[in-house]
Amino acid sequence: MILLWGSPADGPLATVRDSLIGSGADILTLDQPDLMSSRLVDAQEDATLLTRAGAYPLSAITACYPRPSIGVTEPSTNPSHPSAVRHLVNIESRLWEWASTTPATVMNRPSPGATNSTKMSQTRLAQLCGLDVPATLVTTDVERLREFADRWQQVICKGAGGARTVVYRVDIERTDRMPHLTTCPTYFQAYIEGVNHRVHLVGEQIFTVAITSENTDYRYGGCEMTPAELPPDIAQKCRLVCDRLGLSLAGIDLIRTADGHWYFLEANTSPAFTFFIGHERVADAIADVLTKA
């Protein structure tokens, strides 16, 4: 049985689900409302998930694609009832605990999945795997930021953690913003001019899309996408990054400069691949890995 953990309205989960249904796979979809009315019962060396639909021993789950909603989003989970929230947090924690250690295929397990909550750790690892990375500075120091900007001419600012943020180019002359720098160490990188590439790695398969955009952050304000191929050595290094991070699924962001240099930006561990062209093939590949587990 394949566990799809998340909302059926979530694009990536829905497309993987469609692909699995098409292939006749045995699937169980669990969303927050299901978990609210479920419980996990321990038994000798196994646990059974009791839902309204039935009883499912966790040992019967051969593969899992976790994309749970973050936090309590389900309206029926009334936050004025702390016990309901506690129940949801507790059962999700137990499922994550299971996902950490189960012999089932999990795309991805919690610890590797958390690696993009610190982008600097990913770039450090990518560099060790032989990929170039942009020069980086994390600081609360205005003078050090000025020196960094002087050296690299154009600098971008982005979130270092797991929250979705808009990448923007820093205007060092915006003196009104500089006092805010002391609020929190902030993540800056040298701006790399080039063509963005999104690389989805699913098991052994690689799907690459080239993206051109007028905007620093192509996700906002329009872009054009075309299918692309990675040079074999770059593909190999991307695989190595995934192996070292423990990821069986990733959406790696790269930039290729006009002179053919490739730079690693980050690895998304639960990629929203439906944003990109050709996403059906990515969904089929995920479904294939889950089915063969």
């Binding site: 250690t101 610890s111 909550s117 990375v133 980086t136 600081t139 120091d141 953690g161 929190c184």
Partner: protein, 248 residues
């Protein structure tokens, strides 16, 4: 060059830890809370940490001035950031956590314990790590003993030694202390507080092999004791540790 031990903690556990430090009259220990990251002077290059700086009590120091770091915080919480606008607290908390994870990972001095992708103070708060480690060394875990009666024993391990344990004569080795020491080694964690069910209660249960069963495990700093903090500090400044840190 000033050499200091830095203790990183959040609002939730700051007070008991400070009380321990005060009772121990531990000099040369500086305390950093998340609010301390909101100061000019922090510099971190994850790809070349040689020029990284730390801000302690408004002093900007090279990270090489640190003798060691004790992390008593798994992630920065919004309530750690009373000085930040409430709307921004969750985001700033995530960013600070990301910063600390990368900064701690880049330090060349001893750090107890090194951060993981899910927690700044290592894996001690992750039940899956403990139960996986328990399974590898044949220690039964509480999940299969939901109603087991029996005597529970709590032990705290720091750096390969039991430093605190109810009704344990420190230095004495019995089944529980042996299990605790083996377990932290198998889990790759240097400091933790562990609760066991003693062997008579688990005898005869499938998979338990007459060994103590693991009931729970948690980071040492959830309930800090003077003896634990003293052992942490002693481990930080021991010459053996200092030499082990070279080349990390």
């Amino acid at each position: 060059m000033i050499i200091e031990v830095l203790l990183i903690t959040g609002e939730e556990h700051r007070r008991p830890l400070l009380q321990c430090l005060r009772r121990l009259t531990a000099g040369q220990v500086s305390v950093l809370t998340p609010a301390g990251l909101s100061c000019e002077g922090w510099v971190h290059d994850p790809h070349s940490t040689g020029e990284d700086t730390v801000v302690i009590d408004r002093r900007v120091l090279p990270t090489t001035a640190l003798a060691g770091v004790i992390t008593a915080l798994d992630y920065v919480q919004p309530f750690d950031l009373a000085h930040v606008h409430p709307d921004d607290q969750p985001f700033v908390a995530q960013e600070m956590t990301a910063f600390l994870r990368s900064w701690l990972a880049g330090l060349t001095c001893p750090v107890t314990d090194r951060p993981t992708p899910t927690a700044l103070s290592g894996s001690a708060a992750d039940p899956s790590v403990w139960f996986a480690a328990a399974a590898t060394i044949g220690i039964c875990d509480r999940r299969w003993l939901p109603c087991a009666p029996g005597r529970r024993r709590t032990v705290t391990v720091v750096d390969g030694s039991v430093v605190d344990g109810s009704s344990i004569r420190l230095g004495a080795v019995d089944a529980v202390t042996e299990a605790a020491l083996e377990l932290v080694k198998a889990a790759g964690i240097s400091a933790a507080r562990l609760v066991f069910l003693e062997p008579p209660a688990v005898a005869g249960r499938p998979g338990c092999n007459g060994l103590p069963a693991l009931v729970s495990a948690e980071p040492w700093w959830y309930r800090p004791a003077d003896s634990t903090v003293a052992a942490m500090l002693s481990a930080m400044v021991s010459p053996q540790r200092a030499s082990a840190a070279v080349g990390r």
